[in-house]
Subunit: 651 residues, 2 copies
């Protein structure tokens, strides 16, 4: 995963033993060397085979031989194609660029198989290339700061599924995360001490580059500016306003004043400082969700609009954006912004980041197709908002182009897409479990041919990818138990694990209604934080019940789940209670009771009206969200109940 463009299997078998070596041609340095060394480490860890040679060989051709022509400068024109061939005694990876070669190495590692006595790579010939040039993940480090090592492990994960753009959302109302030497108050007063030094930024950009990942910084203006204005209130649109770092979530009023020269002076100086650290051509200025309230309340800004024939606040923002684009052009950068920047007068040299959709009263798929038709390069995030906590099938089935009829030129302007990890509700402890494994499936959408879209097949492969991501260092699996141990004061967590496997965090921002339930410093070591999307037992139970209802041949599997839940409440009750686990009692109790009743009904092929009503009552109770999670087997329980009612009702 992502599934390659073209695959031919053959019966060969390349055995992985301690003699495996890698050689690189023509250069044993840079990205490919880095990837080759990491490949050897990961292969050794996965297989337990102790390799004789821990580094690429230079004196002879390795049993894995990698050839490429050029060392790429990253950009949207970079060639990432590769060919991989595995036979009994040798493996070759051939690519135009070193980036293509490292994509091939990731594919090879995914091919690892084993039997009882050894690990091997199966014979295969693969020719592969990406469908889209822009396959991104955005991480918001403002709402919750994410330390460099957290970003690095996510970059590793991105590279392992061939993603190539890291969009770094560095500023927002809740914090300015970049060390500015020109305007030091930005990080001194507006970050709570949580920011990246310029050395760290350079280090991260180099780390990403080594993985073939471009880094696009985002400095969100003119809205989302509470942090900037906390440091430099003189740039604000409302005189005398008490600017402060926001502790809640939502859309706030503080906005830069687009009518003042000092605003542009500030941004030009700041961008001059920033841009040399980010070699990529694209530079994201945000531009979203400016509601213009403070502009409306400022007489001078109103005057300015009249003097400059700017009818609306959109016009004023376009005026601002065009000035910004000139500044960025001078610095050799291409301006990119969220789709609000696509106003009638905005030059088509800007890049439109399409994010709004049905949720914001726009058509599904957002502004992407419109932007491409108008002549803008464009990138899709609508449909890939992973912070909405929706099941993976929802994102996987969103295609950037879909059935749109586009000219070749229009199509080429659709660069690709980005999953967006907004961090209002995630901390370094939980961020991996919100990004992964779902983003791997999104990565496949961006890389693989459009017709690779079988959800069940994807889910099967995703399960394996998820586990390999843990092997790579991601924390999305292991941190569940950390949270549950913390919740229980280190008691036996079996009962809570069982519950967590059928619960998911509330979706589409319901967890943090109006943005004021959680502050940035609230606890995120709660039951909801231990739960993930696509809860494992829920999916399995749902499948099992469907097949039981249709064929009546899965009785034992259905009973396995029901009986396990039926006895779970006893385990839960054995826990010494505390304020963190006490609120789960109703969930635990009703689940056990409904499971026992349904289990008895299925086993006895009989259910009384009284018990049927009890079942329905338990399900109603379970259907109410609790401690910010929802039980995701409700529909299945209802289907099973309906089945019992039809078949077994005894009165």
């Amino acid at each position: 995963m992502p599934w390659p463009k073209d695959i031919k299997e053959n019966p060969a078998k390349f055995i992985i033993n301690s003699d495996v070596t890698i050689s690189l041609s023509p250069y044993n340095r840079g990205r490919v060397r880095n990837a080759a060394v990491n490949f050897l480490r990961r292969l050794s860890n996965r297989t337990g085979v102790f390799l004789n040679e821990g580094f690429p060989t230079t004196d002879k051709k390795g049993s894995i031989h990698i050839t490429f022509s050029t060392i790429a400068k990253l950009g949207i024109k970079n060639d990432e194609s590769y060919a991989l061939n595995v036979n009994n005694t040798s493996i070759t990876i051939t690519a135009k660029t070193d980036v293509g070669a490292i994509r091939g190495l990731e594919t090879l590692l995914q091919l690892t198989q084993n039997n009882e006595s050894h690990y091997f790579f199966p014979g295969i010939t693969i020719n592969d290339a990406p469908r889209f040039v822009w396959r991104g993940l955005m991480i918001d480090v403002s709402r919750h700061f994410q330390p460099i090592h957290v970003l690095k492990r996510n970059l590793d994960a991105m590279a392992s599924v061939k993603m190539n753009v890291f969009h770094w959302h560095l500023t927002d109302d809740q914090g300015f995360r970049f060390e500015s030497k020109v305007y030091p108050k930005l990080h001194e007063l507006a970050s709570d001490g949580l920011y990246y030094t310029q050395e760290q930024v350079k280090d991260l950009v180099a780390y990403a580059d080594n993985l073939g990942i471009r880094v696009i910084p985002e400095f969100d203006v003119p809205g989302h500016a509470s942090a900037i204005l906390t440091a430099y209130p003189e740039l604000g649109s409302k005189d005398g306003y008490e600017y402060h770092i926001e502790r809640f979530s939502g859309v706030f009023d503080p906005t830069l004043n687009p009518t003042k020269d000092i605003t542009y002076e500030f941004l030009e100086n700041l961008f001059k400082e920033i841009t040399p650290l980010f070699p990529d051509t694209y530079f994201h200025i945000g531009g979203d969700e400016n509601e213009g309230k403070h502009w409306d309340e400022n007489i001078d800004i109103q005057k300015f609009k009249n003097q400059n024939s700017l009818q609306t606040n959109h016009d004023l923002q376009t005026y601002f954006n065009i000035k910004l684009e000139k500044i960025l052009n001078k610095l050799g950068k291409k301006l990119m912004g969220w789709d609000e920047i696509m106003t009638p007068n905005m030059p088509t040299t800007a890049v439109i980041h399409s994010w709004r959709g049905e949720n914001e009263g726009l058509p599904n798929g957002g502004s992407l197709i419109a932007a491409a038709k108008k002549g803008y390069q464009t990138v899709l995030s609508n449909g890939y908002y992973i912070d909405r906590m929706l099941p993976i099938e929802h994102h996987y089935t969103v295609d950037p182009i879909g059935n749109a009829q586009l000219t070749e030129a229009e199509q080429s302007r659709i660069l690709g897409g980005e999953a967006t990890m907004w961090s209002e509700l995630v901390t370094p402890l939980t961020i991996d479990s919100r990004i992964w494994p779902r983003t791997a499936a999104i990565a496949e959408r961006f890389w693989s041919p459009q017709n690779i879209n079988n959800v069940d097949d994807m889910k099967k492969r995703l399960k394996k990818v998820s586990f390999h991501l843990e092997e790579l260092g991601l924390t999305h699996i292991k941190n569940r138990d950390v949270i549950l141990r913390s919740m229980t004061n280190n008691q036996d967590i079996t009962a809570l694990i069982t519950l967590s496997k059928i619960c998911e965090p509330l979706k589409i921002y319901a967890r943090n209604k109006d943005g004021i339930e959680y502050k940035t410093y609230s606890s995120f070591m709660l039951f909801a934080d231990a739960c993930v999307v696509n809860a494992t037992d829920a999916s399995a139970f749902n499948h099992t019940v469907i097949s039981f209802i249709n064929d009546e041949n899965n009785t034992n599997k259905v009973l396995f789940y029901l009986n396990n839940w039926a006895k779970n409440h006893d385990n839960y009750m054995k826990l010494e209670k505390n304020p963190k686990i006490q609120p789960l009692e109703s969930l635990s109790k009703n689940l056990s009771e409904v499971s026992l009743l349904l289990s008895n009904a299925i086993q006895s092929k009989s259910i009384s009206t009284e018990n049927l009503n009890a079942v329905k009552n338990h399900i109603e109770i379970l259907n109410n969200p609790l401690v910010d999670v929802e039980v995701v087997i409700i529909d299945t329980l209802k289907a099973l109940t309906a089945y019992c009612e039809t078949k077994y009702l005894s009165n």
Copy 2:
């Protein structure tokens, strides 16, 4: 933990609710502010209470009020004492220095308790101060490089148990881990790209300082110099020798040439570059395990010895050390070295790090007392070698002074001790589980009064500390399952967890005989890496059996373990086999069989000679180490067998 010097309980109860606030006097900045903010985060995570105020209040006195007199400059004279008082409505921490205040905050956090409905701090008055001024942990980052974030989380853990010295073993035969701008070949050619930039070093030192932890760098010379000589072979003692980064473990011959001026020029320039980054007065030059082989083989060095009346290689090394001490003194540093540097002519201004003991043919307790009597300041590590994988009781019962009769001056020269984490067999994945929780008990030895030495009581408290360390971000608990999932290709790991709870990694370096079984790049995601010292079920089973044999009243508990193991092999056999789990079969099978036989014997109060012999045979097989682990319930099984033989033998 560590247990305070003086405790008085009272019946008050300070309820932890969202109104809790902290205030700091006289300064709301620096270490105490940092610790206070982290305290609020950790308290919120532990209790789930959403605090209204996420930062120390400045406008009013907080319900937790911290007062201190001075902001400390870290050093061995720094005062770390504090007084803590908890009553119903307010908590005060009073200290001479900010470091004392943050030690008090750690104590307070450890006091958190709860009932069903709320969390609280119990009423208490504590007056506390450390017994020793030097409470250290050494981490070797040469054998296996440990990224900055791994060190930082270990510094967090150290601070949480009031340790105050991080000894950073930065160079050895397997890698030079410091970026030198003066001698760049050191990190370019002798680190495999795994080194700390000077910015990272500064960042880490600042991070440690913020936690009240001093950082002592070690640059190990003249031996352990393979990496240095890989970069600068002209400094070596043997002409024409092919110096290279070592991939194995052990003691190697490459040694700096102490007779050449360029050696001292090199070291002076290097130390000039290094020392400004480490504000602490102490500077560790290693000096251990130089066997002088290359000195003996070099005619010029032999001549030099004769010319300078240096009888032995020890004399030559003393000559070298004295020159080094002068260089360091000029740079304002105090020379510290492993105890080999304590030769008759070595000035008493040097600091002796006592590490050798019985194992190296010296008396237990090593050279510590001798050094103190001779006038040296000294620090003990003999007895605290946590990489030897010995149970915690072994380390906890080693006291730096013990019963030695010392004058006050001699006693004051015994600064304290250091646990040493040599990293031949640990990676970032496993290092936490080798350091923690055992080092917390060693920290208690260094901080608490000498008479706090009840092993059982310590173990009970250690269990809680261990879990709190996970809450703090340490990975020693959660990474076990990561390894087991990797071993099984993500199958159900229950059977392997059961085995891991009675197995421990081979001790005292038996895992890596002669240092040539593992290379630095070998896999450390093996079964042995999932196992830890003081295996949980083993300890519990051992206790249970003792009480069963003595009182015959723990039958059910003993049977609980035996029956669990008896059925475990069935679970193991359900696993799809691969080369990583296949070798465990004999362990799994014999454990199940012996458990079944013993269980039957106990239940029926009867055992046949045949079964008794079978039991003994299984135990013999289990007694043989396997995949680098040993079963640590052997003695208990033997005791149980002997009991069955005496009581139940039926023919």
